[in-house]
């Protein structure tokens, strides 16, 4: 792998940047691998990378039906934070946060991780009680978290309507200074390039169409490019996880919903943090290109069409304009949807399954981008040792039968 550096940039300038190496190979599938990862989104690519890097398992293939990062990974609004309520979730997301903090160096790839702070607004007394409870829980877990007054909020975001005359006046917020945003496709590409350099085969346009199972044990997959064998298979397919589970003969506690986002025309820098509101249901940040990145709630019905409904767009923009009257005449440029796999307790599933050797990493729903490094890291450990990583153990699929749910609706809500 050609390392990226300032020196390299200068050197390549001499040849008009025409000789950069391709970021990864385009290999022909082998007949057999030690581990197959199904799904080439951020989580799948991170899993492959950590398998090779931390566990020395390099005979690995990532099977992606489309292109790398073309699923939710490059459709999300890129909010990264770790201020979850319950110990189990906080530990997992904070593990990810610590990896984010060194990720660009580790991958030798600029993922543009920007710790510009994330604010979750409260508009009612109950919102404020929940915020206080969550902030206290975060601090007990060693996660940076503060409660802000409306005056402090106004200081950080002068353009927001913090007056008492707002329809849903802002009463306060939780604030995580270490939280922020990252460039989503760079995350997929960075992991892809680093995994490829360690010998992982990234197979695009390769769709898994079935599993090869004998005596309750997996030994390979069927794909549109022929059968490929492996004794360990990890499915990291987000919205399509239920479809894969059905192929393997079981169900998951998931529903797939469209979730959409919009970006505006580019503006000069005006918003240097991330503002989210569960109550009025909208959230916003500004990208380095200058466009406002706006997220919505899910469409309530099950759906696999990667687009969102019009009423949801309207509802979201109402909320944004209510908070930021200054944006009322900004034009929206693009709108799209991704398919999120929502779980009843708003927490992920990182788990063995009824089929031996087959593992699932899914259920991240509306908020898994922030977890990408941590998810890949603990899932790789789980696949390598055939045993749940201690941080993954509480997120086993068993919890839906034992009742030990990790109810993060308060912290996850709309919040992504």
């Amino acid at each position: 792998m050609q390392r990226y550096s300032g020196f390299g940039l200068a050197k390549h300038a001499l040849s008009h940047h025409e000789n950069w190496e391709r970021q990864w190979r385009n290999p022909t599938p082998k007949k057999q691998y030690d581990v197959i990862i199904v799904g080439g989104g951020g989580h799948g690519l991170a899993t492959a990378y950590y398998l090779a890097k931390e566990h020395g398992i390099k005979n690995v293939a990532v099977l992606e039906k489309g292109w790398l990062g073309g699923g939710n990974t490059a459709r999300n609004t890129t909010i990264v934070r770790s201020n979850y309520l319950w110990d189990e979730a906080a530990a997992l997301y904070e593990h990810a946060m610590k990896l984010w903090e060194g990720l660009s160096q580790d991958l030798n790839y600029n993922v543009m991780f920007s710790q510009r702070g994330v604010m979750n607004l409260g508009h009612t007394l109950q919102d404020m009680r929940d915020i206080q409870r969550r902030v206290n829980a975060n601090r007990l877990n060693g996660i940076d978290s503060e409660v802000l007054t409306p005056e402090q909020i106004q200081e950080i975001v002068p353009i927001m309507d913090c007056s008492k005359n707002a329809r849903y006046p802002i009463m306060g917020a939780s604030w995580q200074p270490r939280a922020g945003v990252a460039r989503h496709d760079a995350v997929a590409w960075g992991y892809a390039r680093a995994a490829d350099a360690l010998g992982v085969d990234l197979l695009q346009n390769t769709e898994v169409t079935g599993f090869k199972i004998r005596d309750g044990r997996i030994y390979g997959v069927h794909t549109n490019r022929g059968d490929i064998e492996a004794k360990t298979v990890g499915c990291v397919a987000a919205g399509n996880s239920g479809v894969l589970a059905k192929m393997a003969g079981f169900r998951l506690p998931l529903e797939s919903h469209p979730l959409q986002a919009l970006v505006s025309e580019p503006l000069k820098p005006i918003l240097d943090t991330v503002v989210m509101s569960n109550h009025v249901h909208g959230y916003i940040s500004q990208s380095d290109k200058g466009d406002l990145v706006i997220g919505a709630g899910i469409d309530g019905y099950n759906g696999y069409g990667q687009r969102g409904s019009y009423p949801t767009v309207e509802h979201t923009l109402q909320a944004i304009v209510e908070m930021f009257p200054i944006f009322s005449r900004v034009r929206m440029n693009r709108q799209w949807g991704g398919i999120v796999d929502t779980c009843p307790d708003a927490c992920p599933i990182l788990s063995a399954t009824p089929v031996k050797g087959l593992f699932f990493n899914c259920g991240w729903g509306t908020g898994g981008f922030k977890a990408t490094p941590g998810s890949g890291h603990v899932f790789a450990w789980t696949l390598a040792k055939n045993q749940a990583h201690p941080l993954a153990a509480p997120f086993s699929i068993d919890r839906f039968h034992t009742g030990a749910l990790v109810d993060e609706h308060g912290a996850a809500g709309v919040a992504h």
Partner: protein
Amino acid sequence: MFHIYCPYCEELREEEEFHPKGEAHIVRPKDPEACTDEEWGDYLFFRDNPRGIHHELWVHAVGCRKFFNVTRNTVTYEILETYKIGERPTVTAEHLAGGDKQGNVQVASGGQQTVGASGAAVASVKGERA
């Protein structure tokens, strides 16, 4: 924007009057105390979540406030039929796979309109609310 035919109001109304409520025809166990953890967890949490034909519960939230069922394609979003609580769907994945599209349902063009299922094709199922 969906135009959904409420089988109680007998009218096509706009999507915003309705709320989707998830998979239909999930039978509440008659005696929850007698369920194993497995059965109870399956009932509460596990869903088919198919790509394609899906039978689902909707409520006409700001209309008649009644619950009813919808058969919808989760990829094209086409609504294939709507029918009352206690009735069975006439459009199913099995019968579409068999190429049998007759039933008593007209499939509206444009993927956004619906017609109610005719009562003739419908059998009510005992002990089932939805």
